[in-house]
């Protein structure tokens, strides 16, 4: 369970956030403060795992609370200000959300929150999968409905969709072009290189570098096509929003301001 403090002075925004967070069963809101001094006092007495801080609170800037926040506490800033206002603090924060916050964007932030705690719990989370030497090598799988084991290369995996305890792997070219195996997405995430494969949404991993075209017909119907396959992958609004923020992150890495 992740304990959380909300620091937000606008009642409507505060109620909205608290209501949204109810849907995340692993988050427990243990405190709510409406100004700088209240938050400072709370932090001197208790140590939440996570803090949502609105930057524009009475009594001081939300960012000025940083010195009072424990090192291991995760921070998510919320602000109606332009992004650069928060930019300086970005490194220390798990995420920053611009008001008004969309449910898709909040969900994306919560995903980052979970990754943050996953990493800090395992200590050297960074060491687990990146530069995993095995990720370039073939992976042995046993497809459903087949008695034989099979080797597949990560380089040829376009996307993997979760199907309960199973997953459906879509491969470039090849025959068969898709396989179903008894392996969860979490297990896949452990063996595939996180620099190439991205989990966008709970039920989908894609190899970003093989994505070629995007066709957006409406917010709820976005088609992705990949190198080496005629078949398209249809994604909905939530997943499209995650893809968007992933691309944004990549673009910022390429062209830092």
């Amino acid at each position: 369970m992740i304990t959380a403090l909300l620091v937000e002075d606008e009642p409507a925004a505060f109620l909205w956030l608290r209501k949204q967070l109810e849907a995340y069963l692993d988050i427990q809101v243990i405190g709510t403060e409406v100004d700088f001094f209240g938050a400072k006092k709370f932090l001197s007495e208790r140590k939440p795992d996570l803090i949502f801080i609105d930057v524009g609170i009475p009594g001081g800037l939300g960012t000025e609370l940083l010195p009072f926040v424990d090192q291991n506490t995760g921070i998510v800033f919320i602000s109606a200000h332009e992004k650069y206002a928060v930019k300086a603090f970005e490194r220390k924060a798990i995420d920053y959300l611009l008001k008004p916050v969309t449910p898709e964007r909040l969900d994306d932030a919560m995903q980052r929150v979970r990754e943050f705690f996953l990493k800090s719990n395992t200590g050297q989370g960074q060491e687990i999968s990146p530069s995993n030497p095995e990720s370039a090598d073939a992976i042995e799988i046993k497809p459903q409905g087949s008695s034989k084991k099979l080797l597949i290369y990560p380089a040829s995996i376009l996307w993997i969709e979760a199907q309960e305890n199973y997953s459906k792997i879509k491969l470039a070219g090849g025959d068969p072009s898709s396989l179903i195996v008894r392996r969860s997405l979490n297990e896949w995430a452990d063996v595939l290189s996180p620099e190439k494969f991205y989990r966008i949404g709970r039920g989908l991993i894609i190899q970003l570098g093989l994505l070629r075209w995007t066709e957006s017909r409406s917010r709820d119907e976005v088609l992705l096509s990949f190198a080496g396959s005629e078949e398209t992958l249809v994604i909905g609004r939530m997943v499209a929003a995650k893809l968007k923020s992933l691309r944004k992150q990549k673009a910022e890495e390429r062209n830092p301001d």
Binding site: A13, K99, P100, T102, R247
Partner: protein, 199 residues
């Protein structure tokens, strides 16, 4: 001076208080659209940024015109990286919606296509970013042989940024009207590097 902070805070409160999901979504799209429009304008911007930026604009048009509008945006990953004129797509779309809705049978169809293609230029074949915005309306001549004010502004900025290498053309191919912008990729990349090094 606009108090942007107040605008976004108020929009945020409206979303939080609003029970109607459609109204919530319209408000979120409006906020996104405003944020994108308020952004400090840069001289050049990778097209991907604008492709993301026009999403909320299209969604707002959709909620305004409902079933009278069908809009598809198709883009290659490659095209997203090519530096282009900021607000270029917005301007082309704005024209397509404005004139299209006046002249097209309903529903109006608008299609955006962005890709990198081989084109033949003075120095043989080169890769070019080709962006087309098509609609099922008819071409309206403002005065014979001239393009509208919006398009001529765009043509001028293409000319001043990329010289003759970039083109803007329009053509009718019933039921479609196409406006096509083409920018050589190497010219765009060079220009982008220059602009960034000055900054």
């Amino acid at each position: 001076m606009l108090d942007k902070h107040l605008i976004f805070s108020v929009l945020s409160s409206i979303v939080a208080k609003e029970e109607n999901a459609e109204a919530q979504e319209m408000t979120l799209n409006l906020a996104d659209f405003l944020r994108f429009s308020f952004e400090e304008e840069r001289m050049l911007e990778p097209l991907g940024r604008e492709l993301d930026g026009i999403e909320s604009y299209i969604a707002l048009q959709h909620s305004h015109h409902g079933d009278n509008l069908l809009c598809t945006v198709r883009s290659s990953e490659e095209s997203r990286l090519v530096p282009a004129v900021p607000m270029m797509l917005r301007l082309l779309l704005q024209n397509a919606f404005k004139y299209g809705l006046r002249t097209s049978e309903l529903p109006l169809r608008v299609e955006v296509n962005a890709g990198v293609q081989k084109i033949s230029g003075l120095n043989g074949e080169t890769d070019a970013l080709v962006v087309s915005v098509s609609n099922t309306g008819r071409w309206i001549e403002t005065s014979p042989g001239k393009v509208g004010a919006g398009l001529s502004v765009l043509r001028e900025s293409l000319l001043s940024l990329f010289g003759d290498d970039a083109t803007l053309e329009s053509r009718e191919e019933p039921p479609w009207v196409h406006v096509v912008v083409s920018i050589p990729v190497d010219v765009a990349n060079r220009k982008y590097e220059t602009v960034r090094s000055i900054r």
